[in-house]
Symmetry: C2
Subunit: 337 residues, 2 copies
């Protein structure tokens, strides 16, 4: 049995209402009384029961954070961190549930959150993709992070893939390259499509003709068998071209890492013979490569923050906000003699 407001009152020799006043810092308690109550609180180790408060106040102080694997994805957890930061500024806590693709467990998780009377809901995906919206999300203020629905019904925060593709390409164009290859992600995912769009835009703008031969795939489609040699053959086909590229945009840092290795087979080196940019800024990889990898960092932290701010500002429009990547400029985009 936990100690309650009544126990404190008895110990302090006041009514329990006075204790309530003290713990809520209400005005109108004599200093001497306040001290006496505080002493009783300390002596008994009293802590207000938030369930009781919640019931009277009709609000829970919790925001539900629904994620598909966000926490286990390297650095995607920063989404959570950014959200947590803003939530706690507003004295709210996050209740995080991980939903797998199991429909039943997803339903259970959402029911649980709603029964706990979450004041708002965040749906965060570990990679930028379209989702099927759990309809219950419309019952409370909600936002989408790193994911979206076909029809925009909620405020949506996604990374600005097109701009990132543009920037990653532009960095190479500015170094004078005109023959720029690209190793793309699975073409079925949004990031692959939009970054390619940015790449083309940068080329267009610079008056460089698009050459489809320079676009190769670094990973299989969902419907293809996973094969580990995908980047290998991608690089192979670029190197087999009559006119090899002098620069390369990699779909993710893991591709870039492999490119560093694979180039050696052709007697080439990143940073000497081939300029490289990439996406993600995986801290495990990008700074440890030589030369350091120039790469576009996904704005996880900022998306998490922006989404929660939106929730608190009650901007419940249905617009999609594009959050910019941060270019992390190291050396790989620049060739040294």
């Amino acid at each position: 049995m936990m100690v309650s407001i009544k126990d404190v009152a008895e110990h302090a020799g006041t009514s329990f209402k006075t204790v309530s006043r003290v713990i809520n810092n209400d005005a109108g308690v004599r200093e001497e009384t306040r001290e006496r109550v505080q002493a009783a609180i300390d002596a008994l180790g009293y802590r207000p029961n938030s369930a009781a408060r919640m019931m009277r106040n009709q609000k829970s102080g919790v925001i539900g954070f629904i994620s598909d694997e966000v926490v286990t994805q390297p650095y995607a957890g920063e989404l959570l961190l950014g959200a947590q930061e803003v939530a706690s500024e507003h004295d709210k806590v996050l209740m995080v549930v991980n939903i797998e693709h199991d429909r039943k467990r997803q339903q259970r998780a959402i029911d649980m959150l709603l029964e706990r009377r979450v004041e708002a809901l965040v749906y965060a995906s570990y990679y930028h993709r379209e989702i099927e919206l759990p309809q219950e999300m419309l019952q409370v203020p909600s936002v989408l992070v790193n994911c979206f629905t076909t029809e925009a019904v909620l405020p949506t925060f996604v990374p600005d893939e097109v701009q990132a593709g543009y920037d990653a390409t532009r960095l190479l164009i500015e170094q004078g390259h005109t023959r720029i290859g690209m190793i793309t992600l699975n073409p079925q995912i949004v990031a692959a499509q939009k970054r390619l769009e940015g790449y083309r835009r940068a080329l267009d703008e610079a008056g460089i003709a698009f050459d489809a031969e320079l676009i190769v795939r670094g990973e299989p489609r969902f419907d293809e068998p996973a094969e580990s040699a995908c980047v290998e053959s991608a690089v192979g086909s670029l190197m087999a071209l009559d006119k090899r590229p002098t620069a390369l945009v990699c779909g993710k840092d893991e591709f870039a890492m492999q490119v560093y290795f694979l180039l050696a087979r052709f007697g080439l080196q990143v940073g000497r013979d081939l300029a490289v940019t990439s996406f993600d800024n995986q801290r495990l990889i990008a700074p440890g490569l030589t030369p350091g990898l120039t790469t576009m960092e996904l704005p996880h932290l900022e998306m998490g923050r922006a989404a929660l701010r939106c929730l608190f500002n009650r901007m419940d429009d249905r617009s999609t906000r594009l959050i910019p990547f941060s270019p992390i400029v190291r050396e790989s985009h620049r060739l040294k003699a």
Copy 2:
């Protein structure tokens, strides 16, 4: 105003007590009545208020998960996942709070959890280390994961570093190597010390003399300036030895990645001239290297699970459980002609 049990009762034409029986699946409700109530529940979209239940039942159904950055560390988030899995089997949910090194915010977080009447507490660190125990943890059943206190006061789950060091070394000894180097982590952290201990044990057992020259440091101590060239000079000093090592245990996969590159400077290749094992099994790195990196996977998922199981089994002894790493055997530990 949310719909309550009374609204449902009115809609169904019963007392609210009967509604309570239906939502709790209590025996002794006529089928016809149950259906009528269920229809009212569906029609009104009623959801039981967990705060009210909590108050009557005197338990919250939540377990507090205190972490220092667990979610943002690649794959350490699996700690959380394992914990979540077991918790939900027992119909409990996790409330995750991230505590930074700010004393005040830590206190706030713990207070919040206790006010929410968490039934138990988990403290999880993102790397294996000693912590200062928040004294409040002794007020509820608690466990430590991936961290420990000087004096054992709580059940503690940590990775079996010595065994991992032993296994990583043993894999190389079994390939016939007798000159085995080691690139260690910061010697001030537990993992570095214990893995070295395992390394020495494996050598001893095989009758190989320990040679201090073969032990080099891949990262700076806490009190030294961070320098990026640490692995580089470590490899350099090994290669400068009269009798170079033929095999190498790397303190983490990031070191291994750099070793693959650095060796090229000496005209050497991992898997041909040098056998390599490592620790972590970072999925971003280990499978993408050529040859694939043989590495000891940290048992994050299993630690999370084991800790929660312990909580539910009320095994509140103070013993320390060592959770084994999983050897992920690829090709790098084996030399090919």
